[in-house]
Subunit: 303 residues, 2 copies
Amino acid sequence: MSSNATFKQIELFLAVAQTLSFSKAAEMSHISQPALSMNIRKLEDSIGAKLFDRHTRNVSLTAVGREFQDMCLPLRDKIQQVHLNIREFVHAKKGKLVVAASPSIAAGFAPQVIAHYLTSHPEVEIKFYDELADVCIDLLRKGKVDVALIPTEGLTQELNQIDLFFDYFVVVMPEDHPLACKAEVNWGDLREYPHIQIRSPSTLRKTVDGQMSAVLPDFRPAYEVGLAVTLLSMIRTGLGIGVLSHSSLGQANMTNLTFRRIAGHSTYRSISAVSMNDRTPPPLLDSFVQACQAVSRSTSEFQ
Amino acid sequence: MSSNATFKQIELFLAVAQTLSFSKAAEMSHISQPALSMNIRKLEDSIGAKLFDRHTRNVSLTAVGREFQDMCLPLRDKIQQVHLNIREFVHAKKGKLVVAASPSIAAGFAPQVIAHYLTSHPEVEIKFYDELADVCIDLLRKGKVDVALIPTEGLTQELNQIDLFFDYFVVVMPEDHPLACKAEVNWGDLREYPHIQIRSPSTLRKTVDGQMSAVLPDFRPAYEVGLAVTLLSMIRTGLGIGVLSHSSLGQANMTNLTFRRIAGHSTYRSISAVSMNDRTPPPLLDSFVQACQAVSRSTSEFQ
DNA sequence: CGATCTTACGGGATTCGTAAACATA
DNA sequence: TATGTTTACGAATCCCGTAAGATCG
């Protein structure tokens, strides 16, 4: 009647079924033989049928016992597999990790980190979102994402932030552009040239809008585009200049283009690995953040 | 560290994972909420990682918890399936049965019983051996066979025997054979005609040899063949007569042949369902033996 | 008589439920 | 403050190991 059979009882049953001896199975299982007897009896009671025919010198499986053995052997395999898998997961040997990054980070830093991470953790399955920073934080809050690589400004305390590197703003222009003569430029230098911006309200966009408005009250971009690739292409044809983050240029096609760092205030932002403070981190998170730090230290464009 | 997780703990974990509430899960599982808390804690300890993030107003799965849930859901299905299957097996709804029969029974009675049994127990899987009675008993002893349908003579006490029907010896001959004029024959009537026998040392063969030797000291068959079909064919062509059991003729081609019952002593044998006395019978055995009795009662050729 | 399983029994660990404490929205 | 989880603790239960009993070769 009762449906409570224990893993241990099944293990013990299989030991007896294998050895066809209570005493040997007890020794093998490191329990006393009477205790084993009782366990088998309990199991038989819960099943409602004898599993073994025991005579003084001979133990043999009944028909029900044989059937039960046939069913339990794959079951034990499954249980052991679950055990093994969860151990590997807990010990951060394999697992799943959901990563988000804001657009500019997704364009340069994040892919490099993921590639680097997978060389040392080939069994890990990474799901990646490239979304605006606000969306990343929302995904974090909802628990859809384990860690976000985003610019950090005014994060609430519930978010745990580990700084990775400073991402400088640069102005991108054709190689023969007048500004290319200067070693550094500042926000004021930019106001004379038509701007091309990415349409989405990214943190970069907001910063540029704010700073440009300060030096040119009725600032408006000449063009708005959806993708960074389009933006660079338009700059290359001489339609204007644009502000991007230094870290995102590593993966871009920069032929006939050059860039200059912007000097002054609000000319960089701190990029961090952000996770939820009050949630237990996935075991892989530590090693992933370490990979982020390793990449940010070892790669010149993130320094 | 410890690798002991209980079925119950997994059930409780899944309940909490489903409801995301300790109190609801406790109520659903009919245990107190603190007890549930403790079980989850034990499970977490044995896994070595937190499964839930609990805050006062909010319970959510950790990454490890999600992974564990993904692994446990199919595991629970498997466990429930084992439960269901073993229940069906114990309650004789489905299962396996290994049947053996001696050659003459395998030729007529056994197939009819099996066919009849499968109409009422379509889920049962029957394995069938047709072997000499001695071999059948050997298979019984070795536990390879659950029940044997064999002639019973001098069985030891370890064998449990349930009588089914009397199988009479008959002499088979061409329709125009001189003996066909008689309503009954006796062993002495047979000595004047050439005998054809089946080669194997079946119980039938042994009986015939014994009885014929009594009436004809240097009795020897004119021909020995391997199969009953061959024997009948040779009788049909007039090469001799042969003794078979009545029950085995039902399935045979008897064109141009007729048979007469042998009168006197040692002219029949008792056919029984034989199983091991000291072994727990498979749950299906009872119903199978009942099917044997039903067939032997309802079919005229077994009366 | 020896090997092997079962029963009996006492002690220790486990587990449960009630009640109180604790933590957040 | 109200809701929901954890801690504390006493009692009941479970489970194991030792020792004795039973059974068959």
